[in-house]
Symmetry: C2
Subunit: 287 residues, 2 copies
């Protein structure tokens, strides 16, 4: 993708001349409060993984899967990505990519990299997942970077255009529906076309699904896994983020991204920590 778009500018990595060492610049534009968004950091790491493979004459430049451990939030500013190719295969290669800042390991990620087919309308051979409908984009509610009940600035909402289904927007006024699911449209604010790399950002751009259950503040990710299933066709993407089980101090949530041709193009799951306020009654499950 040409560097005319901010996502490409801000996820760029530059070879340092040393194998498996890249310079990156964590940009303040992609933060939630003071901390860079996890999906944005994953995209930086994926670009370094791809660059390392290209240096080794591989054409495995698309992320097929990614797992990430967020150890310390890097500050906006210069950082390094250290990559190590763990295995090269015929159809897939494994790469570890670590984001380091001032000698401190901030993000440890492992990628399976491969080569996705060009985007095209295509049905899965078999699927048990069903795409969902949303009201037209203009009838949905855009999330903003400031205002509402955000205790801090959510800068990524200026970088992407998230439009939530009005049915799930109750949390913004302190009235979560209790269904534990947020869904809506997503696109880049500057019109950057969607591709496989951008899905690593989109799977982590929505608010936590627990916002639709309880006002429980910050929910730090313990472990994130993402699968990129296909290059999305041009057009707006639909995202669903749903909580599955809140048990003790942790919960898990599942994210799905569907493209304009009703293809499931990305999936993610994460385990995160949560602190339920004492005496808070759980809403009923959605089933």
């Amino acid at each position: 993708m040409a560097d005319e778009y901010e996502f490409d500018q801000h996820t760029a990595v530059a070879p340092t001349g040393e194998t498996g060492r890249f310079d990156a610049d964590v940009n303040r534009a992609w933060t939630v409060g003071p901390k860079p968004n996890g999906g944005y950091l994953l995209a930086i790491a994926a670009r370094a993984a791809a660059a390392d493979l290209v240096e080794h004459d591989s054409d495995h430049t698309d992320p097929l899967s990614a797992t990430a451990a967020y150890l310390h939030a890097p500050d906006p500013g210069p950082a390094q990505v250290q990559t190590e190719i763990l295995r090269t295969g015929r159809s897939a290669s494994h790469v570890r990519a670590s984001i380091v800042q001032q000698g401190r390991l901030c993000v440890e990620s492992t990628f399976v990299m491969g080569t996705l087919e060009p985007a095209r309308e295509s049905e899965a051979w078999w699927s048990d997942r069903e795409p969902f409908d949303l009201p037209p984009i203009d009838d949905c509610v855009r999330l903003t970077s400031t205002g509402g009940r955000n205790p801090f600035q959510v800068s990524i909402m200026d970088r992407c255009d998230v439009r939530l289904d009005p049915e799930v927007i109750g949390f913004a006024t302190g009235q979560p529906t209790g269904r534990g699911e947020l869904r809506g449209w997503i696109a880049f604010a500057d019109g950057r076309p969607v591709d496989a790399l951008s899905l690593l950002f989109f799977i982590d751009a929505f608010p936590p699904a627990t916002f639709d259950l309880v006002s429980a503040g910050w929910v730090p990710t313990l472990s994130l896994s993402a699968y990129v299933r296909a290059n999305p066709v041009p057009g707006p993407l639909r995202v669903s983020q749903r909580a599955q089980v809140v048990d003790g101090p942790r919960f898990d949530e599942v994210c799905e991204v569907w493209d304009a041709s009703d293809r499931l193009v990305a999936q993610a799951t994460q385990l995160a920590a949560i602190r339920i306020p004492e005496g808070q009654t759980p809403p009923r499950p959605r089933r």
Copy 2:
């Protein structure tokens, strides 16, 4: 757990005297064909991660989550586990654990380790997942290590007692139901009690869910993630393994493990490669 049980004997790791270096012995008893089972290897890695934390005065000895990349299948025999504590926190610590054999990196895994409450009957604060019923164990069909349509010996089926719901056993006679789901009971064959560690094995002990869709041979895991949600109460566990989307050369499947008190104690997801035989018609999804 006392070393009277084979799972504990065969997942044992011995400190080498060097920090973060452990000796292990990959036992032939836990293989599928010639290759050690992925969940068994994950349990070995988890024991090394816990041992490293204990050496560093941490009580984070339970796996909360695990991600694994299977790079090369180790042979049965001696191996080393190399661990690195990436972060220690108040309630969780991150550890990378790598299984190495004769200098070759075979499995790269990352654990979030913590301290789970003792097993007890407890309801999740909120859950959108529903436990499922199975026929009584004696009415279910035990999977055996030899015979049937297995092209090779599945030794793990002598280590654990897997009893499939008769409704899903069609694949064994070449008649998959097309629902893409296998479910059944699981326990250790030697009566070892269930605990958090053993869940890392149980989430990968079932046949692939695609067996219930198509006869497509070997389906190598590209990326595996597991969450351990709670210590299971004593008693048999129920496992569901279901395919979600088969698209192009890859599919994803989700595994859930429920304990005798109807608590979801473990979840896993994996992305795996699959080769659909040419001209094979997809069965209808189960919905």
